[in-house]
Each structure stands twice: as structure tokens, then as C-alpha cells.
């Protein structure tokens, strides 16, 4: 019951061969198993964020005015900029995966670099957005905005305005955490990819982290209009 399957890329040099894990019969089986497993993992991500979206819509129904007031204090320009960052990074990621499938090592690394840089841009904008809110006394979960001034005016008299910001911080915070994890994972891909680890014979990690990255983008596609535009 014991064997080893070694997968090598098409003739191009500088790549490391991959040994198929012991309990799989073929590289195809290993690939399909990993891919199916990862889709199931993405299912859990969808359900996890789905709970947050359900809470958002639930309370949007409860307190439409509060959500309107809170949403008007978020800067949709920054949100739109971040949307562009993530959309573009999604595109570069897709190209990175494509290059790994074609054993184009250097091109792949460049595309992945772009992805990380754009994700970094996203985080920088997020940083300015958050610190802008902190400046006005809107801290994650503990909010002490000044009763006078713009924030005080907008939020005066609406029911439970903190609820909107708490949901905003929870959703964008957990999403931001996913971006960070993604950046680390893509960084690892760049490192291993540079060593010639991924090629047409074996590119599972690139493919899977790519899927993950697209889901991060996917969630933001919904977060952006719901938090910044609709209220």
C-alpha cells in the first residue's frame, strides 16, 4: 500500500518537484481533495460573515435612522478607494494564479507582489479611516464623541447610534484581520514561489490562497455599499 508519486513541471528548469502525500493515489486526487476541502472552508467563511450581515440587516430594520446618521459619518470616498484597491488586487491575484499554472515563475512573483502592495494600500486607507474616527471619539466599541460639533449634531436624538459603529467596527475589523492573514499568506507564496516551489505540476497553495483572497474581496464588495452607501 505504499508508493510515492513525484510531480515535476514541464521541462523548464529551476523548479522543485513535488511528492504526492502518501495516502493519495494520484496527484489529481490530491489536487481535487485539497481544492474541495478549501471550497468547504470558504463555505464556513461565508457563513461566518453571513451571521454578521444578518445582524446588520436586522438592526438596520430596527433603527434605520441611526444607521443613516452613522453611515453619513463614514467617508464613502475612502470606501470607494479601498474597493478599488481590493478589486485590483483580486485581479492581480487571479493573474498570479494563472502564471503559476503556466510555470511562469518570475511573472507570478511580480503579480503576487502587486497583490500584497495593493492589500497594504487597503490597510493604510483603513488606518487613516479608523484614526479619523478615533480622533472624533468613535473608538471600537467604546464611543465618546463630543456632544457639540459635527458628530454630536448628526448623532443627537437618534436611538442607539453606537450600535451602528459597533457593527461597523466588528465587520470591518474581522474583514481587516482576514486581509492581514491574506497578506502574510501571499508573502509566503512569494518566498516559496521564488524558490521554484510552484509550477504547472503543483500549484495548490497558490490556487487556494488565491481563492481565499477573492473571498476577502467578495466580502468587501458587500461591505462597501452596505456600510458606506446605503444608510
Amino acid at each position: 500500500m505504499s508508493h510515492a508519486t513525484i510531480v515535476t513541471p514541464t521541462p523548464e528548469g529551476g523548479f522543485q518537484p513535488h511528492t504526492v502525500a502518501h495516502h493519495f493515489k494520484t496527484a489529481e486526487q490530491e489536487f481535487q481533495a485539497a481544492k474541495f476541502a478549501f471550497w468547504l472552508f470558504l463555505v464556513t467563511e461565508v457563513m461566518l460573515f453571513g451571521g454578521l450581515f444578518a445582524a446588520y440587516i436586522y438592526y438596520h430594520g430596527f433603527y434605520p435612522k441611526s444607521f443613516q446618521a452613522g453611515g453619513s459619518l463614514l467617508d464613502w470616498r475612502l470606501g470607494a478607494l479601498n474597493t478599488m484597491f481590493l478589486l485590483t488586487s483580486s485581479w492581480t491575484m487571479a493573474n498570479g494564479v494563472r502564471c503559476s499554472q503556466l510555470s511562469r515563475r518570475k511573472e507570478m512573483v511580480v503579480w503576487l507582489w502587486w497583490t500584497v502592495v495593493l492589500a497594504g494600500g487597503f490597510m493604510v486607507v483603513k488606518y487613516f479611516e479608523y484614526s479619523g474616527k478615533f480622533h472624533h471619539g468613535i473608538f471600537p466599541f467604546t464611543q465618546v464623541w463630543h456632544p457639540e460639533g459635527h458628530y454630536g449634531e448628526v448623532l443627537a436624538g437618534v436611538a442607539f447610534p453606537k450600535l451602528f459603529f459597533n457593527i461597523y467596527f466588528t465587520m470591518t475589523g474581522i474583514h481587516g484581520l482576514h486581509v492581514l492573514v491574506g497578506m502574510i499568506a501571499i508573502g509566503w507564496l512569494i518566498w516559496r514561489g521564488g524558490q521554484g516551489r510552484f509550477h504547472s505540476g503543483w500549484y495548490i497553495p497558490v490556487d487556494l490562497i488565491g481563492l481565499y483572497w477573492h473571498v476577502v474581496d467578495l466580502i468587501w464588495i458587500f461591505l462597501f455599499p452596505l456600510l458606506y452607501l446605503v444608510p
Partner: protein, 121 residues
């Protein structure tokens, strides 16, 4: 792998050059990317117009179109196995059940008796 010899620990080395996944073209990705950018502009533009109760619906609709483009092309689901499609679409189905039933409760509360579960504030 049907190895019936007693010396079953001998490693049979199999070299495999197979391609597993679908390789998309650069053009498709570029076209999808441009469409996504256009849709982002559309959703921002739409948000500047007040459609009343339909605001949320329109925003979610555009977001769904964008999301399905990402899933179909960037994530290769169009060319992926049936089971991966079922898994992902299934999650959306069950998520919509969570939404549907939770919101159905909220939306229809107090229909028989308005004093039932009426908020105090």
C-alpha cells in the same frame, strides 16, 4: 497501486505531468476587472440618487453581480467541478435561510397583536 507483493514498502515512483485546473486567459481576467470597476462606479452613482426603500435592494443587487463575476471567473468556479459549485452555492442557499427566517420573524412581529414584542423606548 494494486501492489500484491509482500514487499509492499517499496516505493513505486510515478512521475506525473498532468494539468489539473483550468487555465484562464489574460483577456478574460482583464475584461472582468474592467467590468468590476464600471460596476463600482455604477453603485456609487446609484447611491447618490434616493430610490427610497429600494436603495438597499439596488446596492445588494449590484454587489451580487460583482460578486458573481469574481466567483465565476477569478475563482474559476465556471470551470470547476460540480461539487465545488454545489458547495459554494449551497452555502449561499443556507445563508439565505438564516436571513429569511430571522428577518421574517422581525418583519412579521406583532401582526396579530401589536402589543406583542413592542419595543420600549
Amino acid at each position: 497501486m494494486a501492489n500484491t507483493s509482500h514487499d509492499s514498502h517499496h516505493h513505486d515512483v510515478v512521475v506525473d505531468h498532468s494539468h489539473h485546473g483550468h487555465v484562464s486567459t489574460f483577456q478574460i481576467f482583464l475584461r472582468v476587472y474592467v467590468t468590476l470597476c464600471v460596476l463600482t462606479i455604477v453603485t456609487v452613482a446609484a447611491s447618490q440618487v434616493d430610490f427610497g426603500g429600494a436603495n438597499m435592494l439596488i446596492a445588494v443587487l449590484i454587489a451580487s453581480i460583482k460578486a458573481s463575476l469574481v466567483v465565476t471567473f477569478f475563482m474559476h468556479l465556471k470551470w470547476d467541478t460540480a461539487m465545488n459549485n454545489i458547495a459554494f452555492l449551497g452555502s449561499l442557499l443556507f445563508l439565505s435561510l438564516l436571513f429569511l427566517f430571522t428577518l421574517a420573524d422581525f418583519a412579521t412581529r406583532g401582526m396579530a397583536d401589536p402589543t406583542q414584542m413592542s419595543p420600549i423606548r
